[in-house]
């Protein structure tokens, strides 16, 4: 009988842990890109032309790592090293999934938790907005600090057409956060130039243009995607979850302490019971 008592107490404690934990409400929701998700660069001009996806390397560029897709039947590549498949034209479902994600992201993240900063800032996960365009100027570094599950949503132009311009500014990851969980939605064009670090998936409401930028993420445009000297443009899969460097482990530190305590308690009680015999 005592065996059962010994057995049940830690088990009950374990069950209590299971029942006592509750998930916090997560304010920000990453868009579901569906079949568009594997693309590092995607140009989806409704009237596709030779410029729907253009990559030009004038010399200093490093290239693109990842899948490149265009609604036109080819991309324009002048000297860019592209490591990954080129899909041209992409299937209609890819465009449809991208458009669905683009259109849904505002409704999925209706509450803005802050304004997109234009000075150097450390930003926790959240939804950040600007009513009009946003320019992140030279010398500014925005650090997105969180864990592997942290998500950032940036909505540019919530009050009308708004472009995102990054001119020598930087957006970097902090902690164990991953670039894959960063999303920029712009209601107008997106341009990043001479940035030593830019992160995240851009869903541009117009053209997307990058020049001499080290970008980890995805560049997706409702019209043309243009890259000049990518330094590089990299997307090698969306590594999140049980994983992501130093991400949430099988057991958190506190869970390990609790588990060790439960085992110690059960062992302690079992030894005491043995001695009582």
């Amino acid at each position: 009988m005592n065996d059962h008592i010994v057995a049940r107490s830690p088990l009950a404690a374990g069950l209590a842990v299971l029942l006592s934990v509750s998930a916090p409400a997560l304010a920000q929701v990453a868009p579901n890109l569906g079949s568009a998700a594997p693309f590092a660069v995607l140009g989806t001009n409704a009237i596709p032309t030779v410029g729907t996806v253009t990559c030009t390397d004038t010399g200093p560029g490093i290239g693109i790592t990842g899948r490149v897709g265009s609604t036109f039947n080819s991309i324009t590549n002048t000297g860019c090293a592209i490591t990954g498949p080129i899909v041209a034209p992409v299937a209609a479902s890819v465009v449809a999934d991208f458009n669905a994600a683009f259109n849904a992201i505002d409704a999925q993240n209706p509450v803005c938790t802050g304004v997109i900063p234009i000075v150097s800032t450390v930003l926790p996960p959240g939804v950040y907005c600007s009513a009009a365009g946003t320019t992140i100027p030279a010398g500014v570094t925005i650090t997105l600090t969180g864990n592997a599950s942290s998500v950032w949503i940036f909505r540019v132009g919530t009050g009308g057409p708004g472009a995102l311009t990054v001119n020598s500014g930087q957006v970097i990851m902090g902690g164990s956060a991953v670039a894959c969980n960063v999303y920029w939605k712009t209601s107008a064009a997106m341009t990043v130039t001479d940035s030593a670090s830019f992160v995240g998936t851009v869903l541009s409401g117009d053209a997307a243009t990058m020049t001499r930028t080290n970008w980890i993420g995805r560049m997706m445009a409702t019209t043309d995607a243009t890259l000049t000297d990518p330094m590089p443009m990299t997307f090698a899969g969306c590594a999140v979850g049980p994983g992501a460097p130093a991400g949430t482990p099988t057991l958190s530190e506190w869970a390990m302490i609790l588990l060790a305590s439960l085992l110690a308690m059960a062992g302690f009680l079992a030894i005491r019971k043995q001695q009582a015999r």
């Binding site: 065996d3 010994v6 057995a7 830690p10 088990l11 374990g14 069950l15 842990v17 299971l18 934990v21 509750s22 998930a23 997560l26 929701v29 990453a30 890109l33 569906g34 079949s35 998700a37 594997p38 693309f39 599950s149 998500v151 899969g237 969306c238 590594a239 999140v240 979850g241 049980p242 994983g243 992501a244 460097p245 130093a246 991400g247 949430t248 482990p249 099988t250 057991l251 958190s252 869970a255 390990m256 609790l258 588990l259 060790a260 439960l262 085992l263 110690a264 059960a266 062992g267 302690f268 079992a270 030894i271 005491r272 043995q274 001695q275 015999r277």
Partner: protein
Amino acid sequence: MGAKAPMARFLILFVVILAALFAAQLTRPVQSAFVLPWTEALARISVALITPLDSHAVAFGKILQSTTNGFAISIEAGCNGIEAALILIAAMLAFPAPWKHRAIGILAGLAAVQALNVVRVVSLFYIGQWDLRVFQWAHLYLWQALIMLDVLIVWLIWIRTLPPPPSPVPAS
């Protein structure tokens, strides 16, 4: 005082062995020889289990990825169930028991923890493709609790299967 000695011995040994095992698994040789290869093997095992039902899953290194939508999970150090197994191993080594029972318990415990961790990885892979919010909840809360319960149940079953300790020899 004498009656408390075995309990104190267990607790002290448990803490010491646990600290030693955790310290050892953080060293570079152990990481490169065991932890990382096992972590990569977990991704391959997961894909091997998935492939008969879903040919759109691939593993490269420690990453498990869907070729359909690009969603991927990366099994990092700490996500491989090794820490949970080490806690169980430390407890079994510290507890007064015959070595044969310790060996059986450790093997069974390793199998139980790692089997459930594979289920965890595969489930998270699909939950993440379905809904990231559910993924985060399952990852952060549900699976931690399940892994803890798994270890706890193995531990309690093992304790119950141990033979009674030898009776003390009466003084002549």
